[in-house]
Protein backbone atom coordinates (compact mmCIF):
# COMPACT_ATOMS: atom_id res chain seq x y z
CA UNK A 1 0.00 0.00 0.00
CA UNK A 2 1.25 3.45 -0.88
CA UNK A 3 2.00 5.66 2.07
CA UNK A 4 -0.15 8.72 2.30
CA UNK A 5 0.72 11.58 4.62
CA UNK A 6 -1.73 12.09 7.44
CA UNK A 7 -2.09 15.65 8.66
CA UNK A 8 -4.03 16.89 11.63
CA UNK A 9 -5.13 20.48 11.19
CA UNK A 10 -6.24 22.54 14.15
CA UNK A 11 -8.38 25.36 12.80
CA UNK A 12 -9.87 28.13 14.83
CA UNK A 13 -13.63 28.35 14.60
CA UNK A 14 -13.75 31.95 13.40
CA UNK A 15 -11.13 32.23 10.68
CA UNK A 16 -9.43 29.12 9.31
CA UNK A 17 -12.39 26.93 10.25
CA UNK A 18 -14.79 29.23 8.41
CA UNK A 19 -12.39 29.31 5.48
CA UNK A 20 -12.52 25.53 5.36
CA UNK A 21 -16.31 25.71 5.38
CA UNK A 22 -16.23 28.25 2.59
CA UNK A 23 -13.85 26.09 0.59
CA UNK A 24 -16.32 23.25 1.05
CA UNK A 25 -19.44 25.13 -0.04
CA UNK A 26 -17.52 26.70 -2.94
CA UNK A 27 -16.60 23.17 -4.06
CA UNK A 28 -12.90 23.86 -4.01
CA UNK A 29 -10.76 20.79 -3.92
CA UNK A 30 -8.02 20.23 -1.42
CA UNK A 31 -6.14 17.07 -0.44
CA UNK A 32 -8.03 14.56 1.67
CA UNK A 33 -4.95 14.02 3.84
CA UNK A 34 -6.06 16.83 6.11
CA UNK A 35 -8.04 15.89 9.20
CA UNK A 36 -9.49 19.17 10.45
CA UNK A 37 -10.18 19.72 14.13
CA UNK A 38 -12.11 22.88 14.87
CA UNK A 39 -11.27 24.61 18.13
CA UNK A 40 -12.71 27.84 19.51
CA UNK A 41 -9.41 29.67 19.25
CA UNK A 42 -5.83 28.76 18.33
CA UNK A 43 -4.85 30.10 21.74
CA UNK A 44 -6.40 27.05 23.38
CA UNK A 45 -4.33 24.49 21.45
CA UNK A 46 -1.95 23.10 24.01
CA UNK A 47 1.45 21.82 22.88
CA UNK A 48 0.35 18.53 24.39
CA UNK A 49 -2.46 18.23 21.82
CA UNK A 50 0.05 18.71 18.99
CA UNK A 51 2.45 16.11 20.39
CA UNK A 52 -0.45 13.72 20.97
CA UNK A 53 -1.36 14.06 17.29
CA UNK A 54 2.20 13.16 16.32
CA UNK A 55 2.35 10.19 18.67
CA UNK A 56 -0.96 8.85 17.40
CA UNK A 57 0.12 8.75 13.81
CA UNK A 58 0.05 12.24 12.30
CA UNK A 59 2.93 13.03 9.96
CA UNK A 60 2.32 16.74 10.15
CA UNK A 61 0.29 19.22 12.15
CA UNK A 62 -1.14 22.41 10.69
CA UNK A 63 -2.43 25.21 12.89
CA UNK A 64 -4.69 27.72 11.22
CA UNK A 65 -5.81 30.88 12.97
CA UNK A 66 -6.82 34.50 12.48
CA UNK A 67 -4.46 37.07 11.02
CA UNK A 68 -2.23 39.01 13.37
CA UNK A 69 -2.38 41.56 14.79
CA UNK A 70 -6.08 42.40 15.08
CA UNK A 71 -8.23 39.56 13.76
CA UNK A 72 -8.38 37.24 16.78
CA UNK A 73 -11.82 37.18 18.29
CA UNK A 74 -10.32 36.75 21.72
CA UNK A 75 -7.82 39.60 21.36
CA UNK A 76 -4.53 37.72 21.52
CA UNK A 77 -5.17 33.99 21.10
CA UNK A 78 -3.27 33.91 17.83
CA UNK A 79 -0.21 35.44 19.46
CA UNK A 80 -0.27 32.78 22.14
CA UNK A 81 -0.53 30.10 19.46
CA UNK A 82 2.34 31.66 17.55
CA UNK A 83 4.58 31.69 20.63
CA UNK A 84 3.69 28.10 21.51
CA UNK A 85 4.23 26.80 18.02
CA UNK A 86 7.48 28.70 17.64
CA UNK A 87 8.93 27.30 20.86
CA UNK A 88 7.59 23.83 20.16
CA UNK A 89 9.24 23.83 16.73
CA UNK A 90 12.50 24.71 18.38
CA UNK A 91 12.04 21.87 20.82
CA UNK A 92 11.04 19.36 18.12
CA UNK A 93 14.28 20.16 16.32
CA UNK A 94 16.20 19.31 19.46
CA UNK A 95 14.26 16.04 19.67
CA UNK A 96 15.44 15.13 16.18
CA UNK A 97 12.08 15.71 14.52
CA UNK A 98 11.87 18.01 11.51
CA UNK A 99 10.33 21.30 12.68
CA UNK A 100 8.76 21.65 9.21
CA UNK A 101 6.20 19.04 10.23
CA UNK A 102 4.54 21.71 12.31
CA UNK A 103 3.22 24.75 10.51
CA UNK A 104 1.19 27.76 11.56
CA UNK A 105 -0.73 29.87 9.07
CA UNK A 106 -3.03 32.82 9.36
CA UNK A 107 -6.11 32.29 7.20
CA UNK A 108 -9.12 34.59 7.43
CA UNK A 109 -12.70 33.44 6.91
CA UNK A 110 -12.74 34.71 3.33
CA UNK A 111 -9.40 33.25 2.29
CA UNK A 112 -10.57 29.83 1.23
CA UNK A 113 -8.13 29.97 -1.67
CA UNK A 114 -5.25 30.51 0.69
CA UNK A 115 -6.45 27.53 2.72
CA UNK A 116 -6.44 25.35 -0.39
CA UNK A 117 -2.98 26.58 -1.38
CA UNK A 118 -1.55 26.08 2.10
CA UNK A 119 -2.95 22.56 2.50
CA UNK A 120 -1.67 21.53 -0.94
CA UNK A 121 1.74 22.97 -0.18
CA UNK A 122 1.90 21.37 3.23
CA UNK A 123 0.83 17.94 2.00
CA UNK A 124 3.49 17.95 -0.69
CA UNK A 125 6.07 19.17 1.81
CA UNK A 126 5.22 16.32 4.20
CA UNK A 127 5.25 13.89 1.28
CA UNK A 128 8.83 14.93 0.62
CA UNK A 129 9.79 14.58 4.27
CA UNK A 130 8.35 11.07 4.38
CA UNK A 131 6.56 9.32 7.21
CA UNK A 132 7.32 10.46 10.73
CA UNK A 133 7.70 6.88 11.95
CA UNK A 134 9.87 4.88 9.55
CA UNK A 135 7.73 3.15 6.97
CA UNK A 136 4.54 4.73 8.23
CA UNK A 137 2.64 3.14 11.04
CA UNK A 138 0.25 1.22 8.81
CA UNK A 139 -2.82 2.09 10.84
CA UNK A 140 -5.84 3.27 8.93
Amino acid sequence: MMWEPRIVAFFCKWCAGSAADLAGVSRMQYPANIIPVIVPCTGRISPRAIIEAFINGADGVLVGGCHTPNDCHYMAGNFKAFKRVYLLKKMLKQFGIEPERLRIEWISATESQKLVRVTKEFVSQIRELGPLMGEGDGEA
Binding site: S46, P47, R48, I51, F54, I55, T68, P69, N70, A76, F79, K80, F82, K83, R84, Y86, L87, L88, K90, M91, Q94, F95, G96, I97, L132, M133, G134, E135, D137
Partner: protein
Protein backbone atom coordinates in the same frame (compact mmCIF):
# COMPACT_ATOMS: atom_id res chain seq x y z
CA UNK B 1 28.61 -7.94 60.62
CA UNK B 2 25.02 -9.02 60.70
CA UNK B 3 23.17 -8.29 63.87
CA UNK B 4 20.21 -10.43 64.76
CA UNK B 5 16.83 -8.78 65.02
CA UNK B 6 17.72 -5.89 62.79
CA UNK B 7 16.09 -5.22 59.45
CA UNK B 8 18.17 -5.32 56.30
CA UNK B 9 18.71 -2.10 54.33
CA UNK B 10 20.44 -2.01 50.96
CA UNK B 11 21.39 1.13 49.07
CA UNK B 12 21.93 0.46 45.37
CA UNK B 13 23.23 2.73 42.61
CA UNK B 14 22.31 3.42 39.06
CA UNK B 15 23.97 6.15 37.03
CA UNK B 16 24.68 8.55 39.86
CA UNK B 17 26.80 11.61 40.60
CA UNK B 18 27.07 10.90 44.31
CA UNK B 19 25.05 13.86 45.53
CA UNK B 20 22.26 11.65 46.84
CA UNK B 21 24.67 9.85 49.17
CA UNK B 22 25.84 13.15 50.57
CA UNK B 23 22.31 14.34 51.08
CA UNK B 24 21.33 11.16 52.90
CA UNK B 25 24.38 11.28 55.14
CA UNK B 26 23.69 14.96 55.82
CA UNK B 27 20.65 13.98 57.84
CA UNK B 28 23.24 13.36 60.56
CA UNK B 29 22.00 12.12 63.90
CA UNK B 30 18.61 11.24 62.51
CA UNK B 31 20.31 8.61 60.39
CA UNK B 32 21.79 7.11 63.54
CA UNK B 33 18.28 6.55 64.92
CA UNK B 34 17.44 4.62 61.76
CA UNK B 35 20.60 2.56 62.00
CA UNK B 36 19.56 1.33 65.42
CA UNK B 37 16.76 -0.52 63.69
CA UNK B 38 18.49 -1.37 60.43
CA UNK B 39 21.55 -3.22 59.38
CA UNK B 40 23.07 -1.92 56.16
CA UNK B 41 23.79 -4.93 54.03
CA UNK B 42 24.97 -3.07 50.97
CA UNK B 43 25.99 0.55 50.36
CA UNK B 44 28.83 1.09 47.94
CA UNK B 45 29.84 4.46 49.38
CA UNK B 46 29.71 3.67 53.07
CA UNK B 47 30.37 0.04 53.85
CA UNK B 48 32.70 -2.60 52.54
CA UNK B 49 30.61 -5.03 50.60
CA UNK B 50 30.54 -6.45 47.13
CA UNK B 51 27.55 -6.80 44.90
CA UNK B 52 27.63 -10.58 45.01
CA UNK B 53 26.88 -10.39 48.74
CA UNK B 54 23.67 -8.66 47.80
CA UNK B 55 22.87 -11.35 45.26
CA UNK B 56 23.35 -14.09 47.84
CA UNK B 57 20.80 -12.63 50.24
CA UNK B 58 17.34 -14.18 50.03
CA UNK B 59 15.44 -11.22 51.29
CA UNK B 60 16.05 -7.54 51.97
CA UNK B 61 13.57 -5.46 53.91
CA UNK B 62 14.18 -2.02 52.45
CA UNK B 63 16.13 -1.09 49.35
CA UNK B 64 16.94 2.46 48.31
CA UNK B 65 17.81 3.02 44.67
CA UNK B 66 19.72 6.12 43.58
CA UNK B 67 20.39 7.21 40.02
CA UNK B 68 19.14 6.60 36.51
CA UNK B 69 18.97 3.17 34.87
CA UNK B 70 21.62 3.50 32.18
CA UNK B 71 23.58 0.25 31.90
CA UNK B 72 22.74 -3.44 31.93
CA UNK B 73 24.19 -3.68 35.41
CA UNK B 74 21.92 -0.86 36.64
CA UNK B 75 18.94 -2.71 35.24
CA UNK B 76 20.00 -5.99 36.81
CA UNK B 77 20.27 -4.49 40.29
CA UNK B 78 17.04 -2.55 39.87
CA UNK B 79 15.22 -5.81 39.14
CA UNK B 80 17.11 -7.61 41.88
CA UNK B 81 15.96 -5.21 44.58
CA UNK B 82 12.36 -5.39 43.41
CA UNK B 83 12.51 -9.18 43.73
CA UNK B 84 14.16 -9.24 47.11
CA UNK B 85 13.06 -6.11 48.90
CA UNK B 86 9.72 -5.59 50.55
CA UNK B 87 9.91 -1.80 50.31
CA UNK B 88 11.66 -0.09 47.39
CA UNK B 89 12.54 3.58 47.59
CA UNK B 90 13.38 5.64 44.51
CA UNK B 91 15.70 8.28 45.90
CA UNK B 92 16.58 11.46 44.05
CA UNK B 93 15.41 13.08 40.82
CA UNK B 94 17.31 10.54 38.68
CA UNK B 95 15.54 7.52 40.13
CA UNK B 96 12.13 9.17 40.13
CA UNK B 97 12.15 11.16 36.85
CA UNK B 98 15.40 10.45 35.03
CA UNK B 99 17.41 13.44 36.16
CA UNK B 100 20.45 14.96 34.50
CA UNK B 101 21.84 11.65 33.10
CA UNK B 102 18.37 11.19 31.63
CA UNK B 103 19.10 13.93 29.10
CA UNK B 104 21.09 11.22 27.33
CA UNK B 105 17.81 9.56 26.37
CA UNK B 106 17.85 11.57 23.16
CA UNK B 107 21.15 10.24 21.91
CA UNK B 108 21.97 6.89 20.46
CA UNK B 109 24.22 4.87 22.78
CA UNK B 110 26.83 4.62 20.03
CA UNK B 111 26.98 8.41 19.82
CA UNK B 112 27.50 8.67 23.56
CA UNK B 113 30.24 6.04 23.55
CA UNK B 114 31.93 7.81 20.65
CA UNK B 115 32.06 11.03 22.66
CA UNK B 116 33.30 9.14 25.68
CA UNK B 117 36.22 7.76 23.74
CA UNK B 118 37.03 10.70 21.48
CA UNK B 119 37.19 13.87 23.52
CA UNK B 120 40.45 15.39 24.61
CA UNK B 121 39.71 14.94 28.26
CA UNK B 122 39.11 11.21 28.07
CA UNK B 123 41.65 8.56 27.41
CA UNK B 124 40.54 6.03 24.90
CA UNK B 125 41.72 2.49 24.81
CA UNK B 126 40.58 -0.47 22.80
CA UNK B 127 38.69 -2.91 24.91
CA UNK B 128 41.02 -5.85 25.28
CA UNK B 129 39.89 -9.43 25.54
CA UNK B 130 38.83 -9.81 29.09
CA UNK B 131 37.01 -12.62 30.80
CA UNK B 132 33.27 -11.98 30.82
CA UNK B 133 33.09 -11.09 34.51
CA UNK B 134 35.68 -8.35 34.14
CA UNK B 135 34.05 -6.59 31.22
CA UNK B 136 32.33 -3.29 31.78
CA UNK B 137 28.53 -3.48 31.72
CA UNK B 138 26.98 -2.56 28.36
CA UNK B 139 25.09 0.67 27.91
CA UNK B 140 21.32 0.31 27.36
CA UNK B 141 19.68 1.65 24.17
CA UNK B 142 18.04 4.41 26.18
CA UNK B 143 18.04 5.51 29.76
CA UNK B 144 15.01 5.40 31.98
CA UNK B 145 14.00 6.31 35.47
CA UNK B 146 13.54 3.57 38.05
CA UNK B 147 9.84 4.37 38.21
CA UNK B 148 9.35 3.23 34.62
CA UNK B 149 11.09 -0.10 35.24
CA UNK B 150 9.51 -1.14 38.48
CA UNK B 151 6.97 0.23 40.83
CA UNK B 152 8.70 1.79 43.81
CA UNK B 153 6.68 2.13 47.00
CA UNK B 154 8.24 5.40 48.07
CA UNK B 155 9.52 8.24 45.90
CA UNK B 156 11.80 10.94 47.24
CA UNK B 157 12.35 13.54 44.49
CA UNK B 158 14.93 16.28 44.45
CA UNK B 159 18.43 16.88 43.20
CA UNK B 160 19.53 16.05 45.77
CA UNK B 161 16.50 15.31 47.97
CA UNK B 162 16.06 18.10 50.51
CA UNK B 163 15.04 18.00 54.15
CA UNK B 164 11.37 17.36 53.33
CA UNK B 165 12.17 14.22 51.34
CA UNK B 166 14.83 13.07 53.81
CA UNK B 167 12.74 13.55 56.93
CA UNK B 168 9.83 11.85 55.22
CA UNK B 169 11.99 8.92 54.20
CA UNK B 170 13.54 8.45 57.66
CA UNK B 171 10.07 8.55 59.17
CA UNK B 172 8.88 5.89 56.74
CA UNK B 173 11.90 3.76 57.64
CA UNK B 174 11.28 4.05 61.38
CA UNK B 175 7.57 3.37 60.96
CA UNK B 176 8.37 0.36 58.83
CA UNK B 177 10.68 -0.99 61.52
CA UNK B 178 7.77 -0.63 63.93
CA UNK B 179 5.66 -2.78 61.64
CA UNK B 180 3.76 -0.08 59.75
CA UNK B 181 4.17 -0.50 56.03
CA UNK B 182 3.11 2.63 54.13
CA UNK B 183 -0.17 2.27 52.30
CA UNK B 184 -0.13 2.88 48.58
CA UNK B 185 2.52 4.88 46.84
CA UNK B 186 4.16 7.75 48.65
CA UNK B 187 5.72 10.75 47.01
CA UNK B 188 7.11 13.37 49.35
CA UNK B 189 6.04 16.97 48.92
CA UNK B 190 2.88 19.01 48.72
CA UNK B 191 0.04 18.40 46.31
CA UNK B 192 0.56 21.78 44.68
CA UNK B 193 3.08 23.74 42.67
CA UNK B 194 5.99 25.64 44.12
CA UNK B 195 4.40 29.03 43.36
CA UNK B 196 1.80 28.41 46.08
CA UNK B 197 4.51 28.43 48.70
CA UNK B 198 6.90 30.88 47.13
CA UNK B 199 7.65 34.00 49.18
CA UNK B 200 8.26 36.06 46.04
CA UNK B 201 4.57 36.60 45.36
CA UNK B 202 3.66 38.62 42.29
CA UNK B 203 1.59 41.78 42.76
CA UNK B 204 -1.43 40.46 40.94
CA UNK B 205 -1.71 36.70 41.03
CA UNK B 206 -4.18 36.59 38.17
CA UNK B 207 -1.92 38.45 35.80
CA UNK B 208 1.78 37.79 35.63
CA UNK B 209 3.54 39.37 32.65
CA UNK B 210 7.05 38.51 31.57
CA UNK B 211 8.69 41.66 30.17
CA UNK B 212 10.98 39.61 27.93
CA UNK B 213 13.43 36.85 28.56
CA UNK B 214 16.65 37.66 30.32
CA UNK B 215 19.51 35.68 31.70
CA UNK B 216 20.60 36.28 35.25
CA UNK B 217 23.59 38.43 34.35
CA UNK B 218 21.62 40.69 32.06
CA UNK B 219 19.46 42.42 34.60
CA UNK B 220 19.65 43.71 38.11
CA UNK B 221 17.44 41.40 40.12
CA UNK B 222 14.99 42.98 42.47
CA UNK B 223 14.86 40.98 45.66
CA UNK B 224 11.53 39.61 46.74
CA UNK B 225 9.92 40.13 43.34
CA UNK B 226 8.60 37.23 41.28
CA UNK B 227 11.26 35.95 38.86
CA UNK B 228 8.84 35.63 36.00
CA UNK B 229 7.80 39.27 36.38
CA UNK B 230 11.45 40.21 35.99
CA UNK B 231 11.86 38.15 32.85
CA UNK B 232 13.78 35.27 34.39
CA UNK B 233 12.62 31.77 33.51
CA UNK B 234 11.64 30.09 36.76
CA UNK B 235 10.30 26.53 36.70
CA UNK B 236 8.19 27.11 39.82
CA UNK B 237 4.76 27.06 38.16
CA UNK B 238 5.29 23.53 36.80
CA UNK B 239 7.21 22.08 39.74
CA UNK B 240 6.00 20.21 42.79
CA UNK B 241 6.43 22.01 46.10
CA UNK B 242 8.72 19.59 47.90
CA UNK B 243 11.68 21.68 48.98
CA UNK B 244 12.65 24.44 51.36
CA UNK B 245 13.26 26.64 48.34
CA UNK B 246 17.02 26.95 48.80
CA UNK B 247 17.34 28.35 45.28
CA UNK B 248 14.56 30.92 45.55
CA UNK B 249 15.78 32.09 48.94
CA UNK B 250 19.24 32.61 47.50
CA UNK B 251 18.04 34.70 44.59
CA UNK B 252 18.16 31.92 42.03
CA UNK B 253 15.16 30.79 39.99
CA UNK B 254 13.73 27.29 40.37
CA UNK B 255 15.14 24.76 37.92
CA UNK B 256 12.54 22.08 38.53
CA UNK B 257 14.41 19.28 40.30
CA UNK B 258 11.36 18.24 42.30
CA UNK B 259 9.63 17.08 39.15
CA UNK B 260 6.20 17.81 37.75
CA UNK B 261 3.50 19.44 39.84
CA UNK B 262 0.57 17.13 40.65
CA UNK B 263 -1.58 16.45 37.63
CA UNK B 264 1.22 17.24 35.19
CA UNK B 265 3.00 14.40 33.43
CA UNK B 266 5.02 16.44 31.00
CA UNK B 267 6.68 19.44 32.58
CA UNK B 268 8.21 20.79 29.39
CA UNK B 269 5.03 21.06 27.37
CA UNK B 270 3.08 22.55 30.26
CA UNK B 271 5.79 25.04 31.00
CA UNK B 272 6.19 25.96 27.35
CA UNK B 273 2.47 26.62 27.24
CA UNK B 274 2.62 28.73 30.38
CA UNK B 275 5.54 30.81 29.14
CA UNK B 276 3.78 31.47 25.85
CA UNK B 277 0.76 32.72 27.78
CA UNK B 278 2.58 35.24 29.93
CA UNK B 279 5.46 36.38 27.77
CA UNK B 280 5.19 39.98 26.56
CA UNK B 281 1.44 40.03 26.90
CA UNK B 282 -0.04 43.31 25.56
CA UNK B 283 3.16 44.20 23.78
CA UNK B 284 2.81 41.60 21.05
CA UNK B 285 1.25 43.94 18.53
CA UNK B 286 4.03 46.52 18.67
CA UNK B 287 6.67 43.82 18.67
CA UNK B 288 5.27 42.04 15.66
CA UNK B 289 6.95 44.44 13.23
CA UNK B 290 10.48 43.94 14.43
CA UNK B 291 10.05 40.28 15.22
CA UNK B 292 8.32 38.64 18.13
CA UNK B 293 10.35 35.53 17.40
CA UNK B 294 13.57 37.34 18.27
CA UNK B 295 12.44 37.52 21.88
CA UNK B 296 11.57 33.83 21.90
CA UNK B 297 14.99 33.03 20.50
CA UNK B 298 16.45 34.14 23.79
CA UNK B 299 15.45 30.73 25.09
CA UNK B 300 18.49 29.09 23.54
CA UNK B 301 17.91 25.54 24.71
CA UNK B 302 14.22 24.97 25.49
CA UNK B 303 14.63 21.22 25.82
CA UNK B 304 17.50 21.36 28.27
CA UNK B 305 15.82 24.11 30.21
CA UNK B 306 12.29 22.71 30.46
CA UNK B 307 13.19 19.02 30.79
CA UNK B 308 16.34 19.35 32.84
CA UNK B 309 15.28 16.67 35.30
CA UNK B 310 12.36 14.88 33.71
CA UNK B 311 13.25 13.97 30.14
CA UNK B 312 13.05 10.12 30.22
CA UNK B 313 9.72 10.12 32.03
CA UNK B 314 8.16 12.84 29.88
CA UNK B 315 5.47 12.30 27.32
CA UNK B 316 7.33 13.84 24.40
CA UNK B 317 10.21 11.36 24.72
CA UNK B 318 7.82 8.60 23.68
CA UNK B 319 7.65 10.27 20.30
CA UNK B 320 11.39 10.25 19.88
CA UNK B 321 11.79 6.66 21.11
CA UNK B 322 8.89 5.37 19.01
CA UNK B 323 10.39 7.04 15.98
CA UNK B 324 13.80 5.55 16.57
CA UNK B 325 12.32 2.07 16.95
CA UNK B 326 10.35 2.34 13.73
CA UNK B 327 13.37 3.57 11.85
CA UNK B 328 15.31 0.66 13.28
Amino acid sequence: MRVMGKLKLAIVYGAICGGCDVSLVNTGEKLADVLEKYDIVYWGAAIDGKADMLEKLDKIDVAIYMGTVRTESNLKYAKLIRDKADLVVAYGACAVYGGIPGLGALMEPEEIMKIVSSTVTTESKEEIDLPEELKLPRILPTCTSLVEILDPDVMAPGCPPGPISNDGLLKVLIDYAAGKKPEGKIIFGEEQSLCHECPRKPKDLSKIVMPGIYRLHEIKLEEGKCFLEQGILCMGPATRAACDMPCIKNNMPCIGCMGPAPGVDDVGLKYLSAIASILLVDKEKELLENGLARHLDKIVDPLGMFYRYTLPSSYITKLSIKRRKKRG
